[in-house]
């Protein structure tokens, strides 16, 4: 008999796949795998790694929830939910006091406003434009010949901030190269990049008309200078996230699948 307590959530995102295994309200397995253009493979790899970490076999999973851009490519039966509902559910589970969450993902920015029950009151996603997304950060790091993880410490130590208008992710890169050629310090360019992304995020938040507590999720949060800049722009303290910032949508998908099965 299947262990009805274990649930699996898979968030097949634009750039990476995130999988969690939940047992009795605790995350016992979690994995992030880059898609690298092979989505189905990434989903399979990510799932088996998360199961391995949880020391659970797929047969022992009671409920499976799937979400994200690549949800329809998940090659095993699952309950499909929208990334918005999954994010809201996951955030409400992890941070019940949060009323607004902004997810800075690989290719999209999503703002969700939720009530105390975790119900979605309002949501917005970005225009069809990659400026300010994870894709932009990766492009920017590449232009600076840095690893993505190197941007943040540099930005935090920067005495100055270069102006990056980042109206467009593609031309943002040539803007960065311009700064480099002008002799601008890499640290101040890194700081400019963080600010530009935060500024775009602030615009999305203001468009919705957000209320605290405010949480930021998604891969971009791993660059904490973006979060700092966002706090500076919107004048609101961002909640300290208690999980991996890329984890909660998958958690939400698992929870929703389990709750559906109990109805």
């Amino acid at each position: 008999m299947k262990n009805m307590q274990a649930s699996l959530g898979c968030d097949a995102g634009a750039m990476s796949t995130k999988t969690v295994v939940l047992m009795d309200g605790t995350v016992i397995g979690f994995d992030i795998t880059r898609n690298e253009g092979r989505l189905v493979q990434a989903i399979e790899d990510s799932t088996s790694r998360a199961l391995e970490m949880a020391k659970v076999t797929i047969e022992e999973i009671g409920n499976v929830g799937g979400t994200g851009w690549g949800e329809r490519y998940i090659p095993f039966p699952h309950l499909s939910t929208s990334a918005i509902s999954a994010l809201a559910r996951g955030v409400n589970w992890a941070h019940p006091g949060v009323r607004t969450v902004i997810d800075l993902g690989g290719l999209s920015t999503t703002v969700v406003v939720l009530n105390e029950d975790g119900r979605v009151l309002e949501y917005r996603t970005n225009d069809r434009c990659a400026a300010g997304t994870g894709f932009f950060i990766e492009q920017a790091a590449q232009a600076l010949e840095l690893g993505v993880e190197e941007l943040c410490p540099l930005a935090q130590a920067a005495p100055e901030r270069a102006r990056i208008s980042a109206q467009c992710a593609v031309f943002g890169e040539s803007e960065i190269v311009s700064h480099l050629n002008e002799g601008e310090a890499v640290s101040s360019i890194s700081s400019g990049i963080a600010y530009a992304i935060a500024s775009g995020a602030a615009t999305m938040l203001n468009r919705v008309g957000f209320e605290p507590d405010l949480l930021v999720t998604g891969g971009v949060v791993k660059n904490s200078s973006v979060v700092k800049a966002l706090e500076e722009i919107v004048g609101v303290k961002v909640e300290e996230i208690r999980f991996d910032p890329q984890e909660l949508t998958a958690v939400g998908a698992a929870l929703l699948a389990r709750e559906k099965s109990l109805e």
Partner: protein
């Protein structure tokens, strides 16, 4: 400070001593958003007309809440300045349906920014007899609205006086353009632009005094700019001398333009006799047309050619702001036709705020190699 230095200092919205002085003396200011707004009427009402600019705008995060990234950054930067309170000194603001981006921005301004009085002058998108009558009526309405809002009746005589003041600027600015036609160019295009733009941001009678004096200073200084090529700049709304500095740092000198913040605003005098409202309507409706006017391409081509030949340029840089539809279509046609006439043209796309200068510079450098005369 000499008159020339004062004009070169180019005041902007954030720290403008003339605005401060005007307000401190209890007088009021009305902004204008397009070259088709007859500033003379505002001046004749005892108000200071202020053509809005957003030089130095670095981000559009407030404006982007209401406008999209596929709206032009000129409109978004003006909205940003409004939303961040930089235009709180305006008592009124006259918009015009010059282009769709500005026309849309008007509605957002109306909803989210507390300017006491907002106006929208609509101008038909083509030139014909009935269109002229429409525009004339719009000006009459505008005069009536100014009277109602600011409590001063605008007599024909006061409009005539205003026309004289503004014509005087036109003559002086034209003289500045004439001086730059010489083989020995007395000042950089960036400086000339600073001088011209100052007109929009200070009382016009004071500007005329300063400019007359400054022209004398320029003439008697005997200085001239070293250059490898003479250039004209055209295209989208452009009120930032830094852009010209980039061009001139690469050895070019900008000696003329076909810009709405430049020659197009100042050429074409207003008739000083007869019905002054009709004279204003005639001048503004029929002046060297913006690409917003349909069916006027041949006139724009002719105007660009005349300006280029008149200043003996080696090439033209036609720039446009990303998503500027009006100039976007025109620039392509102008490039084809001007090249055919033997005038080299470089087209450049840019954001309103200065960014991505490296890409800009590379292309201008290559163009300079093509056209340099020495």
């Amino acid at each position: 400070m000499s008159a020339l230095q004062e004009l070169l200092a180019l005041p902007d919205r954030r720290d403008n001593p003339y605005v401060k002085e005007w307000k401190d003396s209890g007088r009021r200011i009305v902004g204008s958003a397009c070259g088709y707004v007859p500033e003379e009427l505002i001046w004749a009402s005892g108000l200071l007309p202020y053509r809005v600019e957003c030089r130095g705008c670095t981000e559009t995060n407030l404006a982007d809440v209401y406008m999209h990234r596929f709206n032009c950054t000129y409109a978004r930067c003006i909205l940003q300045a409004g939303l961040s309170g930089e235009y709180d000194f305006l008592d009124g603001f006259c918009f015009l349906n010059g282009c769709e981006q500005i026309r849309r921005m008007y509605e957002i301004w109306d909803k989210h920014i507390n300017t006491d009085y907002l106006y929208m002058i609509t101008v038909p998108h083509s030139i014909y007899e009935g269109g002229f009558k429409w525009y004339e009526e719009e000006i009459l309405n505008f005069r009536e609205q100014l009277r109602t809002n600011f409590g001063k009746r605008i007599s024909d005589d006061s409009v005539r006086e205003a026309i004289k003041v503004y014509n005087e600027s036109r003559r002086l600015v034209e003289k500045l353009y004439d001086m730059r036609k010489a083989e020995d160019v007395p000042l950089s295009g960036a400086d000339a632009m600073r001088i011209v733009l100052s007109a929009f941001h200070m009382p016009r009678d004071r500007y005329n005094e300063l400019l007359a004096e400054a022209l004398g200073e320029i003439e008697s200084s005997g200085e001239h700019v070293e250059y490898s090529a003479r250039l004209m700049v055209g295209g989208s709304a452009m009120d930032d001398p830094h852009l010209l500095e980039i061009i001139e740092d690469l050895g070019g000198v900008v000696v003329t333009d076909s810009l709405c913040y430049g020659s197009r605003h100042f050429l074409n005098l207003v008739e000083e006799n007869g019905n002054p409202i009709q004279a204003l309507a005639k001048r503004y409706y029929y002046h060297n047309p913006c690409p917003r006017m349909l069916g006027e391409y041949d006139n724009r081509l002719k105007f660009n050619e005349e300006m280029a030949r008149g200043a003996d340029v080696d090439g033209i840089i036609l720039q446009k702001i990303v998503f500027c539809d009006t100039h976007g279509a025109d620039n392509v046609m102008l490039t084809e036709d001007l090249e055919e006439m033997g005038i080299p043209v470089l087209t450049l796309e840019r954001e309103y705020m200065l960014s991505d200068i490296g890409r800009f510079r590379t292309r201008i450098e290559a163009f300079m190699e093509r056209i340099a005369r020495r």
